[in-house]
Amino acid sequence: MSTTTAEHIPTAAREQAKVAALSPWAWMRANLLTNWWSTAITLVLAYVILRVVVSLFAWGVLHAIWTVPYGPTGIADTTICQNAKGYGACWAVFPDKYRLILFGRYPYDEQWRPALVVLLFIGLYVVSAMRRFWRKELALIWVATLTVIGILMWGGIFGMQEVSEDQWGGLPITLILATFGLAFAFPLAVLVALGRRSTKLPAVKMLCVVYVELIRGVPLIALLFMASVMFPLFMPAGVNIDKLLRAQVAIILFAGAYLAEVVRGGLQALPKGQAEAADALGLSYWKKTTFIVLPQALRLVIPPLVNTFIGFFKDTSLVLIIGLFDLLTMGKVALSDPPWQSFSTEVYIGLAAIYIAFCYAMSRYSRGLERDLSRARGR
């Protein structure tokens, strides 16, 4: 009896293995065409998807217009695009306008500098993402890279022409606001979250609670308005803090409040025994926090943390309302050029692709990070 059972189990296991390696047709039979109504739904959906894909392909690739002739004054002649409207996409807007969209009103001949800045930012992200660079030197790399980025953008030394901030625009503005914003907001958030859970320092706790509740209770737009319009009124005459910096500070404060609550969630999810064990070993508060509490708490909140990061990356586009020319604003500026006025769909699809590239990279990376970290612990 027992031998029969023992022989049956491997057979069953083999059956299971076969399921995993089904042919596409058998997989469809098993998952999509199980009975008459699931077959019906599958067919209807397949038809809809096919129609959408086919018409998108026809519009975006097959009938798309990639170049347009330019008139004697260098103005694009978009007649063929106008004629193809609703029938074929007009991607010709990008060859004409990509430098305006990406780099704004930065002097045309100096645009290699913001281009290099974008590459430096991407390089910085890639290096920071690699775990083998996770050591103290990484902080130095950040400081050095951000300094170089500042020098490149402002210029004025090494024979580079000086470019003031109101000429900056496009992708560098978006990356500067997002990177500096999150790089400063995150440590701030950790401190605020720790402060909010402090039992021994009631004043600090109070301050942290007030900060979080006050900032979270206000829309980011309102905060940006305050930074750009109200803040200068309180400054003594002659003191003029740059608009970009004021927007940056507003974003840092706003992101800090949100991230602080995410971090606090992680702190609360950590079993009390962990802190007690660290206490019992004689670790001081900061050592306990650095080595035991934060590594575990932050790991727990990687998904909401990245969620907030992605949210703020996109929220930087709100600086539009205080007159900073970020990537999205530059798209609008490009569209204000008469020949291209009616091709907003194409421009916004292009902008969306850039945002998606950055956000999807963040999302993929966080998934990989979660997987690696849990695998390392043998869970």
Binding site: P271, G273, Q274, E276, A277, A278, D279, A280, L281, G282, L283, S284, K287, F291, I292, P295, Q296, R299, A376, R377, G378, R379
Partner: protein
Amino acid sequence: MSQAMQMQNGALSGPPAITLDKVNKWYGAMHVLRDVSLNVAQKERVVVCGPSGSGKSTMIRCINRLETHQEGRIIVDGTELTDDLRALDTIRREVGMVFQSFNLFPHLTILENCTLAPIWVRKMPKAEAEDLAMDYLQRVKIPEQAKKYPGQLSGGQQQRVAIARALCMKPKIMLFDEPTSALDPEMIKEVLDTMIGLADTGMTMVCVTHEMGFARQVAHRVVFMDRGEIVESGPPTQLFEDPQTDRLKLFLSQILRGH
């Protein structure tokens, strides 16, 4: 048993390792420790038992100030426990603790669990701390697990690592808070054996446990607590074979029925 008595007469002299003097503690309106007074001599091994909610864990947690007491005095290794953080640091360095739920650090390897405190609290060089940790892991018989993470070990192994981790700080006193209560029955013995081995080295130990066999074999003295107070205390044979109070009699009958 007679060996234990001998040690009690021979080695248990000098100033007390731990003194609790009329310690009182409240959680809100609940009076959890009532005038608890207890002296633990150097190299003495005390087992604390009692029904759940009797305050035994609270008492042991007051000794390294994981809980604070509101009245009375607690003096550990000659230092009184107060709000003074430096005194607290001194005491925590000398007092090791083992928890019911192990509380290993899951994001660190076994070896890192053991070397963290020696490196950062005792300022020991890393190589030296690792040698020391391997030495203690050898003693609790799991040196081959040093590179693994706590999640990959069984409960019994984790608790032995927790003991090794505490010992790496070279404490003068070891506190055990129900070290075997969270373990499957087949793993209790390996942990108790480790603790018996530790007892043989002459460590001062205070152990909250329901393992009466362990108490008989190792303890110089058993303290019975109920409703926040110490009801009876004495050598294990005396307490187990000749209980004086109804509360202890009831407790012993419940424990024996349970086993």
